[in-house]
Symmetry: C2
Subunit: 97 residues, 2 copies
């Protein structure tokens, strides 16, 4: 299945709807940093994200130390950002809304 990279215009439109995410890797990815009360809460969040990732077959690149989680989303098959990243970001945002 081909995954289409977002055009520059689509990217700008979607990013304005995801104010807590920022572009990284020269526009090829988006990232957001999260902070929780402690490791237990951070890992509980990661577990929920992992389930979303597995369900959608779209996996994050992420880093955790204690109560901090940094998530980067990109679509390797598209060589950059795709709608899959945007949809995933919205799902993740909903977990902490």
């Amino acid at each position: 299945m081909t995954v289409e990279q977002l055009t520059e215009e689509e990217r700008a439109t979607w990013l304005s709807a995801l104010p807590q995410w920022s572009l990284s890797r020269a526009g090829a990815a988006i990232e957001r940093k999260f902070e929780f009360a402690d490791f237990s809460e951070a890992f509980a969040f990661m577990t929920r994200v992992a389930m979303i990732a597995e369900t959608r077959d779209h996996h994050p690149e992420w880093f955790n130390v204690y109560n901090r989680v940094e998530i980067t989303l990109t679509t390797h098959d598209a060589g950059g950002l795709s709608l899959r990243d945007v949809k995933m970001a919205r799902k993740i945002d909903a977990l902490v809304a």
Copy 2:
């Protein structure tokens, strides 16, 4: 509770007992990379490590993308490597032995 940093000699001795871990951050940390069949296996491993971490109140710095997990252990309270990192590394090794 004071956590003592390992001496250079202790570090060398312990590292020889942890052949799959390598020194990083100028000797202040150890790290190991793991590879699994897929994300599901990688995250299952991470969940087990998270439980060990929480039980010991000693948490890793770690990165995951799909089937790869990179773990870095250091003891912030000691300003470098301590026996807590060594013990944690052995517990983690036992999960994948």
